[in-house]
Amino acid sequence: MADEPVDVLIIGAGASGAAVAWSLADTRMDILCLEQGDWMNPAEYPSTGDDWELRSQTDFALSPNARGRVTDYPVNDTESPISISNFNAVGGSTVLYAGHFPRLKPSDFRTRSLDGVGDDWPIDYATLEPYWAENDRMMGVAGLAGDPAYPPKEVPLPPVPLGKLGETVARGFNELGWHWWPSDSAIATREYQGRAPCINLGPCLTGCAQGAKGSTDVTYWPLAERNGVRLATRCRVREILVGDDDMAKGVIYHDAEGREHRQLAEIVILACNGVGTPRLLLNSASSRFPDGLANRSGLVGKNLMFHPYGMVLGLFDERLNGHQGPVGCGIWSHQFYETDPGRGFVRGYSFEMTRGFGPVTTALWGFLNGRLPRGAGHHEAYAALSDRLAGLLAICEDLPEPENRVTLDPELKDSDGIPAPRIRYRLSENSQRMLEHGTARASEVLKAAGARETFVEAPLGMAGWHLMGTCRMGRDPERSVVNEWGRSHDVKNLFIVDGSLFVTSGGVNPTSTIQALALYVADRIKKNLGNLFD
């Protein structure tokens, strides 16, 4: 079946796809977005039911393999100590994300020049500044201006309250004289652009029933649609078609019934994330691009970066009201962000506070960590754990390494028979040392805050939720997949706007920067419309 040709075809309706769609709507071009997932119904999110904790293991599991929805694709991540977390729906992975919303920093764009590792980005902090600001307004970001760890910036909404747990952890940082600050959070702390304010439900990682969390199904998409962008769900793109002139012609996709369609377009924009985008390019190999579309550099899928996470939990004597409030939004610390050669590694990490567990998760955690016995002593042990755990996550900068990569699995396929991605990833020496440093410092903070014991998990196995680097941007076609504004070096009407673009990862959560990049690429497309393919 062939559908009517469009001017712009966006693939993926997640963080970046939504932002680019909204921005390009200004042009009044005919814009269509194809998304393999559905619209989510917040009234059905787990926090609306008694089994809210259990559903984080089933239909709202972080891993697509555990979740196994028909809208998901499987990922072979058995060769990685860190497994992939994502979500496939309108809103993409922002449906599950915590909304912790830091920006990269000036030094992140120049790691080669400053520290002799990774590569410099073809753009800098100042280039993205207006786009971060615009994105903060669109997503509804809460926080507090004045953080000495960042260049000055405005924050649209007041910060998320720290709660007893956050104040306890903050005192630990103060005790040590270390930096901390209320996190920038994509959480509406008061009514904002039609979104209800946060009511501290807690389980943000299974979707926000209140609609206060800035997932793009409730931020960008309603506006983009109102401005004329069409969004078609349950449309899974199998491959991008390319002509003899090396220009993308459109795509082949499968609808919900598995039927094949051909959608032609003048411009194709990929927003499928750091795993989905290289997968699609590799699945689009042809005689002109035998190693995958837009892959004459050989770099599609290479340099996968995750941010290895070290999680430290502190056990306190007092109750902390820990599961009340956005789970991953409270405090960040950038005390150990910039390179200090004395630490035994280059680059650095940030801390993100996490709130406590609900009753069932506490019991399971206690069981799995040998802290909750059967039989005698059970009730005393549970009482000592219940609502008494607070966490700090060390988010470590992951350096780009070509061996860490996404390829196609020779056997595994999704429900439409499309080859699934295969992940090969190992932790570098540098990451390992950074994790050790980060978890030791996190333990110090929690102890200074009054924890009587700490528990470390590093790397955190489930934390493959930041997917970056697999189609990096750059000026040199030999050393990058797209140019400095997201256009493929090889296919001049093909753009990438998602986390694949990252040249280096920084040591903070990436989504604010992913979306700023998407808005920046959209702006460059708009400015260059007259000679876009030159």
């Binding site: 609306t48 000495p148 005192r171 009511i199 069981f367």
Partner: protein, 140 residues
């Protein structure tokens, strides 16, 4: 079902002050047995418990002397290593969802939505030491 309830009471016994029920007493045997994916492993495990009890001269697991249930449960580890950890995890998960248990422990018995929780506003004077700091990121 009696054998299962008896095993569950060994996994989570009643609290010594009598405020919290044992997992069997809380009615979890029926709840676990009703889960189709658990059923085969449960039936197999219960058969093993009876067999081990008979080896000790009892008619079945429920007929063991009170002190022996725990020992027999632990004995299953050799022949069915997954049974006890599996049933323990399931029991813990189910137990902490029982409204009576949650109430007694002063844990919320309702889902988070729609009421949510009131969190006190933060007095950000706690940030004063950090506010006093110089900027400390590398400019470029």
């Amino acid at each position: 079902m009696r054998a299962l309830a008896c095993a569950l009471d060994e996994i989570v016994p009643p609290s010594s002050d009598g405020r919290l029920p044992g997992a069997g007493e809380a009615g979890l045997a029926e709840a676990l047995a009703a889960q189709p994916d658990l059923r085969p492993a449960l039936l197999e495990g219960l058969a093993l418990l009876d067999e081990l009890a008979r080896g000790r001269g009892a008619g079945g697991f429920v007929d063991l002397a009170p002190g022996d249930h725990r020992a027999v449960l632990e004995e299953t580890v050799e022949r069915a290593p997954g049974f006890l950890p599996g049933i323990t995890a399931q029991t813990f998960v189910a137990y902490y969802q029982v409204p009576r248990v949650r109430e007694t422990l002063d844990l919320q018995t309702r889902p988070p939505y729609p009421e949510g929780y009131a969190v006190e506003p933060t007095d950000f004077s706690i940030l004063d030491p950090v506010r006093a700091r110089e900027r400390f990121y590398r400019e470029r």
